[in-house]
Amino acid sequence: MRLLDLAHARSGDKGDTANVGLIARKADYYPLLVKQVTAARVARHFKGMITGSVERFELPNLRALNFLLHGALDGGGTISLKTDAQGKVFSTALLRMEIEVRQ
């Protein structure tokens, strides 16, 4: 299943770091996200698109995960030559990930 069907997301920037807040569409989905959308898996997903590490934080109260993608923005802010210099749509790029769901 696509992550898009299980979650929605919003992202923003802080310098050269993009953040992706990933939010489970239903409470039942949150444990799936916690288990499968690990920092390591997200780093693999964005291989070639980011130069730094990936950090993950858990917000069970909002059934959300927050990812920091370091070195994602070609220097970030005004330095960056990217269309998405502020990392606004890294969120939807993460939602392309495939998640295993037992029916």
């Binding site: 929605h8 997301a9 919003r10 992202s11 923003g12 920037d13 802080k14 310098g15 050269d16 953040n19 807040g21 990933l22 939010i23 569409r25 997903h45 964005f46 070639g48 698109m49 934080f57 858990e58 917000l59 069970p60 109260n61 909002l62 959300a64 927050n66 920091l68 070609d74 220097g75 970030g76 802010g77 005004t78 330095i79 030559l81 990217k82 269309t83 998405d84 749509v89 969120s91 939807t92 790029a93 392309r96």
Partner: protein, 456 residues
């Protein structure tokens, strides 16, 4: 229980001009909060001020105030805005002038918050051992000192509270945090102590939710986006707060947009770092304690927010001259749109190399194929089906000359590169100065906020 309503009027400089008017006329509100300052805005304003000492603030604010002042004065609505940029006094003078023109002479008290501007004090601070190290790279500011354009400490809610306490109806600030513009009114209205950490954290969360305007009420919201009603008449968010620190996010009746848990959650995670430590000058908010509940349609209740004591540092936003960049584009059409654009990119790069240009970076994107999602998108695409692709190529350098030369290399490709190319109507790209951002910390005791009052 007494409640206080704070309406968001602007989420950035350039936001919807109609929003402030709609917020003060669409229903009862006590405060209008307007955020104008993004990281790069201060350097743009500093440049304007260096050309004309009477400028350096968000001029939009003055025209917006002119439009809403009759309502604001009539209803006793108070306004907090960081529209002052690098020249809050000039901004206040312009608003006072506008107020006089509307016949409000002697009827409007304006609070002016300054003290954030460190540009003139940098050498003294560096000499006294304040390195202002870049938070990302660790380098000391002296490495780029001669290229610094602006330097402003982020002030918190305290000077906003003081201005309100001294009866300012409009509070115009320089670099006060976005959240301080909401927290200030709440601390003032509910008499929250400056060490009531949970309450301050709650007010900070309220500020974070509404600081980006409609992003909390259906704008730029992914969750079920197609069913968000009437974004053409979107209602900007309003905080309806109670003295115990709980608050609701609402919007005026008969406006478009949507306020629900999913949308507010999206705004909460926007630009988030470590959720357990959202650090502001006023304290630290723990976002893992926030509880959200849909009370009814277009009303989300926020409760449970816990906070921690403030640190002894303030963040400083420094802008420095970095170099130059330019971006050129060409559009390639089917058949083989992507292949043609890729070929053009290879040819252009070869030419740049042959010219021996000293470029720090060359960045190519194929808009329509990989510009936003990179290889994640490319690998799912059937290249034969792509109707058109825009080659977007940018370069960056410390000197202007190589960037200038690059801008002459785009147009020739129309006649001497791959076929089926169009879209050069915009002409040769213009080299742009890059003013870059340098985040640092400074000891809080080094910064003295100042509040003055101006009468219209």
């Amino acid at each position: 229980m007494k409640t206080v309503r704070i309406a968001a009027g602007q989420g950035f400089w350039g936001d919807w001009l109609e929003a402030p008017y709609r917020q003060v006329t669409g229903g009862p509100v006590d405060y209008l909060m307007m955020d104008y300052l993004a990281e790069v805005t201060m350097s743009i304003l500093q440049k304007q001020k260096s050309r004309d000492p009477s400028l350096g603030y968000a001029t939009d604010f003055v025209t917006q105030m002119e439009r809403i002042l009759p309502t604001v004065v009539d209803r006793g609505i108070r306004v907090t805005a960081n529209a002052g940029g690098v020249n809050p006094r000039a901004c206040a003078a312009a608003v006072a002038e506008a107020a006089k023109g509307l016949g409000f002479e002697g009827k409007l008290k304006i609070g002016v918050v300054t003290g954030d501007d460190l540009l003139g004090r940098l050498d003294g601070l560096i000499a006294r051992g304040h390195d202002l190290k870049n938070l990302d790279t660790g380098r000391p500011l002296r490495d780029v000192r001669d290229r610094v354009v602006s330097a402003n400490a982020y002030l918190g809610a305290a000077p906003v509270v003081e201005a309100l306490r001294r009866d300012a109806q409009v509070v115009i600030t320089g670099r006060v945090t976005d959240t301080g513009l909401t927290l200030g009114p709440l601390m003032h209205a509910f008499d929250w102590a400056p060490d009531a950490w949970d309450l301050l954290a709650a007010g900070t969360v309220a500020g974070h939710i509404i600081e980006c305007g409609a992003q909390a009420s259906g704008g730029n919201t992914l969750s079920d986006w197609e069913r968000i009603p009437d974004l053409a008449r979107v209602g900007y968010p309003i905080v309806e707060a109670r003295p115990d620190g709980t608050f609701d996010i609402i919007k005026h009746p008969r406006t478009g947009g949507r306020i629900n848990v999913a949308g507010v959650t999206e705004q909460l995670v926007y630009e988030m770092g470590d959720p357990r430590a959202y650090i502001t000058p006023d304290g630290i908010a723990d976002f893992t304690t926030i509880q959200l509940a849909q009370v009814r349609k277009d009303r989300v209740r926020v409760s449970g927010v816990r906070g921690k004591p403030a640190t002894d540092k303030l963040k400083v936003s420094i802008a420095y001259f970095y170099g130059y960049k330019a971006v050129g584009t060409l559009v390639y059409a089917w058949p083989d749109a992507l292949k043609k654009a890729q070929a053009a990119d290879r040819i252009l790069r070869q030419r740049l190399q042959d010219l021996g240009l000293r470029l720090e970076a060359i960045h190519s994107e194929f808009v329509g194929a990989n510009a936003t999602h990179g290889n994640l998108a490319l690998q799912e695409l059937d290249p034969a089906q792509i109707p058109e692709v825009q080659l977007r190529i940018g370069v960056r350098a410390r000197e202007k000359e190589p960037v200038d030369r690059f801008t002459r290399e785009i147009a020739p490709l129309i006649l001497n590169g791959p076929p089926s190319v169009t879209g050069f109507a915009g002409g040769r790209p213009k080299p742009e100065e890059i003013v870059a951002y340098w985040p640092a910390l400074i000891d809080k005791r080094m910064v003295e906020p100042c509040v003055e009052l101006v009468e219209a």
